[in-house]
């Protein structure tokens, strides 16, 4: 209902900022805003309606003499049904609209660039697959879908970029993800939106949306770093993973080549797709995802390895093609 006002707001925004609307800078933000304006329209319509009726009745039916009574009216069923059914229909429309949008906005495109996020009291650690690390800053290219895979090292945080209209809790012990595709270059707020302790309000930062060439230059600039997969490979040998997961049929552990993204059977008969969460679980609590045909001899690495290193190992496992042998053997 208010969607038609949006071009007006956008015009205002170009004229020096609309104080009543956050910047709209992702592929989903304008569709969320349209629903927001529809809801605002419904709210204003019914509020004005109820207030007007109340004021009209207040004046028309004010008490004229102290002993006056109201005139009894009967309750017509048709009226009760009308004001039950109309709100119901409005709710159905809103539910279908918002759910369709939510489901559509929820799925990251397969082509998304992946960036990894770790929340900890009270800062955001981010790492790009190419290797560069950032704290409380996120550099992304414009026009490219970006998927963030996120976890927390301590309490629950929440990764929130108002300009993109995306938000997701970041929990310890599991991975959550969001995706967005920026449509405009610029600098946007990044907030922690789940209370996480003393300096919660300082767990904020900036998202820099850059042109693809600027982004490439940014990635190439700075210190030369290894990619996340290379860092993971170094950890793989440092922790001696290769002595069992050697990639040979004779290895004491299963080969990890090509395992990522495939369904595998665990010892208790379940079939699970190997993803970040399963690899993390296998490292920290190996016997809970033990594969049949192998002995339960893998020790836990809980306490020896941090969330950032786990993500690097995941990146390494992911990078292993099916034909590739572990550790170049």
């Amino acid at each position: 209902m208010m969607a038609f006002l949006q071009p007006g707001f956008e015009l205002l925004a170009t004229m020096g900022g609309n104080p009543f609307q956050p910047p709209s800078a992702s592929t989903i933000s304008s569709s969320v805003d349209q629903l927001y304006y529809l809801l605002s329209g419904i709210t204003i319509f019914f509020t004005v309606l109820i207030f007007s009726i109340i004021f009209y009745f207040m004046i028309k039916y004010r008490r004229k003499t102290p002993n006056e009574s109201g005139t009894e009216t009967h309750t017509p069923m048709s009226l009760e049904l009308t004001w039950t059914i109309i709100p119901s229909l409005i709710c159905v429309v809103l539910f279908v609209w918002s759910s369709a949008l939510y489901v559509r906005n929820g799925r990251p495109p397969a082509s998304s660039t992946e960036i990894f996020v770790i929340g900890k009291q009270w800062m955001w650690h981010l790492q790009h697959p190419e290797g560069p690390r950032e704290i409380n800053e996120l550099h992304v290219p414009v026009g490219v879908p970006v998927k963030l895979t996120m976890t927390s090292q301590d309490v629950i945080h929440d990764f929130y970029i108002p300009a993109f209209r995306v938000k997701k809790d970041v929990l310890p012990g599991r991975y959550s993800s969001i995706w967005f595709q920026p449509t405009e270059t610029g600098t946007f707020h990044l907030f922690c939106a789940q209370y996480c302790g003393t300096n919660h309000s300082e767990m904020v930062g900036w998202v820099y949306v850059m042109s693809p060439t600027d982004y490439a230059a940014w990635l190439a600039g700075g210190e030369k770093t290894e990619s996340m997969a290379q860092q993971g490979e170094r950890l793989f040998s440092q922790f001696g993973c290769g002595s069992c997961h050697s990639g040979d049929a004779a290895g004491r552990g299963p080969s990890l080549a090509g395992i990522y993204g495939k369904p595998e059977k665990t010892q208790n008969g379940e079939t699970k797709v190997v993803d970040e969460a399963l690899i993390r679980q296998a490292i920290l609590n190996p016997n809970s995802v033990h594969m049949p045909g192998y002995q339960e001899i893998m020790p836990t690495y809980a306490g020896q390895i941090d969330e950032e290193q786990i993500l690097q190992l995941v990146a390494y496992v992911k990078s292993l093609g099916a034909e590739e042998r572990i550790n170049g053997k």
């Binding site: 109340i54 006056e68 009760e80 539910f95 939510y102 995306v166 209370y195």
Partner: protein, 542 residues
Amino acid sequence: MSTAIAELQESPAESRVNYLNATYGIKSWLLTLDHKRIGLLYLGSITLMFFVGGMAAVLMRLHLTEPQGALFEPETYNKLFSTHGIIMVFFFLVPSIPATLGNFLIPLMIGARDVAFPRLNLMSWYIFITGAALALYATLSGGVDTGWTFYPPYSAAFSHTNVVAVALGVFVAGFSSILTGLNFIVTIHKMRAPGMTWFRLPLFIWALYATSLIFVLGTPVIAITLFLLGMERILHVGIFDPAVGGDPLLFQHLFWFYSHPAVYIMILPGMGVVSELITAFSRKKIFGYAFVAFSSLSIAIISFIVWGHHMFVTGQSIYAGLVFSVLSFLVAIPSAVKVFNWTATLYKGSISYEAPMLYALGFIGLFTIGGLTGLFLAALATDVHLNGTYFIVAHFHYVMVGGAVMAYMGGLHFWWPKITGRLYPDMWARIAAAIIFIGFNLTFFPQFVLGYLGMPRRYAIYPSEFQVLNVMSSAGASILGIGYVIPLIYLIWSMRYGKPAPPNPWGAKGLEWTIPSPPPTENFETIPVVTEDAYNYASGAH
């Protein structure tokens, strides 16, 4: 106007024995089994809690006038918002209308001499003040910084504040709610006067019946949840903390399974009060009695299956999100039915505008906004953006303060002459109602905008572009604060200096208005026989 009505009616006998002057001395109050005196004990205790919680809110709003924070370190600010939430939710809003007005009025309205279990009723108050004292002590001796939501693992393993003591206070006070609910349910079932059938009950009783069901069914869940949190914190048993094998989302499921219905514990009694006020001040039967009564029950039932809408951004599955979204939209319908029926009750009424009616009309307007803005949060796509921001803060304050507190104030003013036997100055009461309405809107409306702009809640410092709206909100809060202090003054003043109240100063229907003000200890000399429906204003004689 009320004095004009007062003169038309018989003047009360000053020397008459009533529940207030029947016995004297502190012991006669602390050991009383009279539901009316117990109601007043609650009134005193929750008023104290309201001003403690309100003081925390005033300090927060003062702090937030500057982006870098005007007064406190973040740690102190975090303790202030936690104190504000915990005190206001568990020790003011939950007991407010049920324990004060409910205790005082249920027996009077159904034609009984007391509640079903008077001793249990007194025990409930002692349990409540034990919990409240514990929470107050823990707050003043160092405080708690988890927010009223106590989310682990922060509350279980990271916070260095008095989490266990405060949780214990809430846990203890919960038993007061359970026992009060039980008492009310039995009273309403078994103690109604002859002829007082279910469909002749005032809607206030229907609303409190629905509330009592939630007390009994929901409160044990929060008690267990907080108990487990205490175990987790002391013994590290690994229920909620993932570092020792627990699941932090389990806590959120359990917490909201109670705390969402708790929202209706706060608003349903308010809806009951407003139904009474609207009929009394338009001297007309409620429009759609059965629809209003059954919408209370359906709200109570649906309230138990919508908790997941607090968790849309926690990573719960898309399908769970869809189910909780549709159920949350469903709550909007009985709420809308109530608003339309109240509004239609005014039609062809004989409407007067004493202070209680101003509060009732304020309630309808603010609850309408509070309810409609709930749609933004039931809708998944907009909730993702608005969850955890000031939009949420604004929404639930419109429901809880604009709704529940407005209704509580309206009810308190409506039944004050019955409770105390004294009239308060109506002009002051109307001025205060107007100040509260204006102050409330100025405080919380800017917060809707702040939330849409993306300002997260529970921030001790914030980006400077949000300052203008924050200053508006803080200005509103100071007006609101004044609005709440004025009634405190004139109501206390009226207890000694107010004009004596006649039995029925408003010309209202209902058994409580057929007996003297204040009522005698036994309420009714002879138990009345009810022969007519509620709100039978057509029979004349006010």
